[in-house]
Amino acid sequence: MSTDGTIVALKIRKSFGPKTVLKDINLDIASGEICCIIGPSGSGKSTVLRCINGLETVDSGVLKVNGEDFGYYETDDAYHALPPKKLAEQRTRVGMVFQQFNLFPNMTANENIMSGPVLVKGQDKKQAIERAHELLASVGLAGFGDYYPAQLSGGQQQRVAIARSLAMDPEIMLFDEPTSALDPEKVGEVLAVMKELAKKGMTMVVVTHEMGFAREVADSLVFMDDGYIVERGDAREVLSNPKEPRTQAFLEQVL
């Protein structure tokens, strides 16, 4: 497996029934880039993320993740869906962190973190648990391995969820509004973990409303509205000096 960490999207379209949520998405994310996606709700930000992870399939356009066509293989006249095994393999290289954490409530923190490596990759349990301890420590939760998600606060659960994704050693990490479901005082602890991660050169795509995080950490910022990418540029540049009137209007309301 090559380490790549790039995402390329070309003219991506996606509809849910009669509603077209992604109209013409063009995106180029370099390896190690931290990209924040902002925009009003319903603009398609989450859908972009879910397409990159294969939770949704795109209707048309080119989507390359880690340098490979994602979920499909290309022939002269069509894209053909990959067999589930291949798709699963591609997915293991893209980590996803959800707004609602989605930890498995029937497993402890350790078991959650080990679920990917042991159940999917068939890794040795002893090795996996050692790794789980390391990962828990890296998200500031050393010693919490035996607790069940229901015993942890929202912020702690989200950090376990991040560790669970990291356990698969993905090249890319996707964050879908990772702090939106948290109590305000727990937001910081999750953002701190994400900042640490950003320093390590992981490609990160973050859908967020945390403009402070975007300003401080992101390399690039994407503003989406109504299924289009309206503006894209250097994060600090866009935040302080937006060019498009729609970006200006949105930032005026949230800042």
């Binding site: 498995f104 029937n106 159940l119 606060s153």
Partner: protein
């Protein structure tokens, strides 16, 4: 007045006139029924007592218990298969399970039981073997389909349809996010089912299954029409000889009641255990020890 501290005075519940009237009426009606039942000689309580532990009644009870356990076990297994088929993304598989469930839930069990008992009318000879070859043996369906076999098949196939719906309901109680999380880790369909969906669906499936067991225990009385000597049929066989119809029906009813009461205790315990509020934590969860500021800050 009497100097009692107002803060310590008990607060009394208000009883409405309706409550007093209800007490009186219900007590009178209840007593009336009791006296009538106890004094009416036609109930023949001594006959009830005599047959309550009669050998053939107990044998019938055993058969009823066997039918309940066997058809529940097999029905649950088949129901699980049907539920997994129903949830399949492969259309014909899902549709096949759907048709099965519709057919077996949409027709009376009694009819199904009689149908299986008479299946030989449709297929007098069953050949088990390799298709398009001469290898195999022919089986006389009439000989194979005895009353107990027909009863077991009928109850099992019917129960499977109901269990399939219960299990499917359990599956759909597992949040979409859980499935997405499993997908994003690259879990295969079977792995997802075993490690994520089924464990989380259990809290809603188990209490419902307990209810089915209680229902099945009483439902087995239907197989008496096939001449299976279960509890009801055993009672019927006796009163056919002695004409003590009511006392023997009381014997059978008493056993059904005793068994359902015995089953309803573990059932209520199961329901408590798997109720929404307590099911969040597995039984063996370690209590949280608040040692560090991180843990304490929740």
């Amino acid at each position: 007045m009497n100097g009692m501290d107002p803060a310590l005075k008990p607060r009394l519940r208000r009883r409405s006139t309706f409550e007093y009237v209800a007490w009186v009426v219900c007590t009178l009606v209840g007593l009336g029924i009791l006296i009538s039942v106890a004094t009416n000689p036609n109930f023949k309580w001594e006959v009830v007592a005599k047959y309550f532990t009669h050998e053939s009644i107990l044998r019938g009870l055993m058969l009823t218990i066997f039918l309940t356990v066997a058809s529940m076990a097999l029905g649950t297994l088949l129901g699980l298969v049907l539920a997994i088929m129903r949830a399949s993304s492969v259309k014909p598989i899902a549709a096949a399970a759907g048709v099965y469930i519709t057919l077996f839930r949409g027709t009376p069990v009694l009819v199904q039981l009689i149908f299986w008992f008479n299946i030989a009318a449709l297929y007098p000879n069953l050949t088990i073997g390799i298709p398009f070859t001469n290898i195999g043996t022919a089986v006389d369906v009439n000989a194979l389909m005895g009353p107990i076999t027909a009863a077991l098949i009928g109850l099992t196939l019917n129960e499977a349809a109901y269990m399939a719906e219960i299990i499917r309901g359990g599956f759909s109680s597992v949040g979409k996010g859980q499935i997405e999380a499993a997908d994003s880790l690259g879990m295969s369909g079977a792995m997802k089912m075993r490690k994520v969906i089924i464990p989380q669906a259990m809290p809603s499936i188990i209490p419902a299954t307990g209810n089915q067991v209680i229902g099945m225990f009483k439902e087995t009385s239907l197989v008496s029409v096939l001449g299976v000597a279960e509890l009801l049929q055993s009672a019927q066989l006796i009163y056919a000889r002695t004409y003590e119809t009511i006392p023997l029906l009381i014997v059978a009813s008493a056993w059904y009641l005793v068994m359902t009461l015995l089953l309803s205790y573990p059932q209520s315990k199961l329901e408590q255990k798997y109720s929404r509020t307590t099911s969040r934590l597995p039984r063996n969860a370690k209590p949280v020890v608040l040692t560090d500021p991180e843990g304490a800050a929740r």
